[in-house]
Symmetry: C2
Subunit: 217 residues, 2 copies
């Protein structure tokens, strides 16, 4: 291997190590409670500026962590969508939304940190645009919400928009809470990610099929 | 007024001012992104230790902010529950859960900060126990979830537990997102908190009435 190629490989290993370390620390302690210096130290980087050197801003670091997970989830979602080939019932479309995410979390093993990290970022005043744009605004998610909408009795636009947002909240925060319980060795409502997905799919379907009320009650 | 009484009143005013300032800064920038010193300065306290003096730990400050809102919400919920007097349909019980919270947010005027603050705290690894214990674990919330459960076809315990948690996620994060949009002058799915509550009640009812599936799908 040439010196340059070996250097590039070391740099890529360092990047991966920093990403994994940052994700863990952010999930466990909070994105703003952890400094770049602490991330660098925990990743065994002697240089205080390693994180800045590899990622630039905090937003870029957060974006890189999300991309690392969002890309395989997106690929799985596209495959699953191809399986229903534009047909399918409401619950099949909802399953395409939920299961690629829960299967990814299951594949990460326990403890995983991505759901807790994502839920924090999604509620952070400054960082949330990064998740909404990258992770949950993915092309496949928009295709699913659109597919759901075509399978339902015509929903007024405000109801379509609010149920889309509610679906994101439900999936992200339910998974984060389950991941947190698993990491702490606490009991969970469902034994496996597969069962948790079953519960989520049923709830999300219920949410989309709920009769629309427009007057106060 | 005696010197001691005037001092106690000043102290109580200072406490209120610190609470309101902390809530605003935490909601806008993130609980961990803001130091006690910044809260003190923004509240016009010359003394760097004012926040520590009045509240002790960060957790105590967070708890005090939540109590300030949770108490009136709880009182409104108890009144609304008395109105259905143990009768009522599923949607009436869900309305008792949602509307006292959204009506409180409406009464705060715009911008309010409490929903964004609560949503952040609820997803924070260290602070979430404070909200779960105080705000959403309130006696009335447990009574409502129990009342809902008695009005539904027998739900397996895991499903009851997961739907209770999902309800908390839906209500808190939907309200936080709406509050954020209002504060930023962005469009919202629903024109008023009253309409947003209508959408939330319908969705939460749909979630609780969804058929229970126990096998993967």
């Amino acid at each position: 291997m040439s010196g340059r190629a070996a250097g590039a490989e070391r740099s890529s290993d360092t990047r991966e190590l920093i990403l994994a370390t940052a994700e863990r620390l952010f999930a466990e302690r909070g994105v703003h409670a952890v400094s770049n210096r602490q991330v660098g130290e925990a990743a065994g980087q002697g240089n205080n500026f390693a994180v800045g050197y590899h990622f630039g801003s905090r937003a870029e670091l957060v974006r890189a962590i999300i991309r690392r997970h969002a890309e395989p989830v997106e690929r799985a979602r596209v495959r699953m969508l191809a399986g229903i080939a534009g047909g399918g019932q409401v619950r099949d479309w909802v399953a395409c939304l939920v299961r690629p995410f829960t299967e990814h979390l299951a594949a990460l093993g326990s403890p995983s940190w991505y759901a807790r990290f994502g839920a924090q970022v999604m509620t952070d005043p400054a960082l949330r645009r990064v998740v909404v744009d990258d992770a949950l605004g993915a092309a496949s998610v928009r295709r699913i919400l659109d597919g759901l909408n075509r399978r339902l009795p015509a929903l007024p636009l405000p109801v379509y928009l609010e149920r889309s947002a509610m679906t994101r909240h439900l999936v992200m925060h339910t998974c984060a809470e389950r991941e947190r319980a698993l990491a702490a060795g606490l009991p969970t409502a469902r034994p496996s990610w597969d069962d948790a997905a079953t519960g989520l799919v049923a709830a999300v379907v219920g949410l989309w099929l709920a009769p629309v009320t427009t007057t106060g009650a």
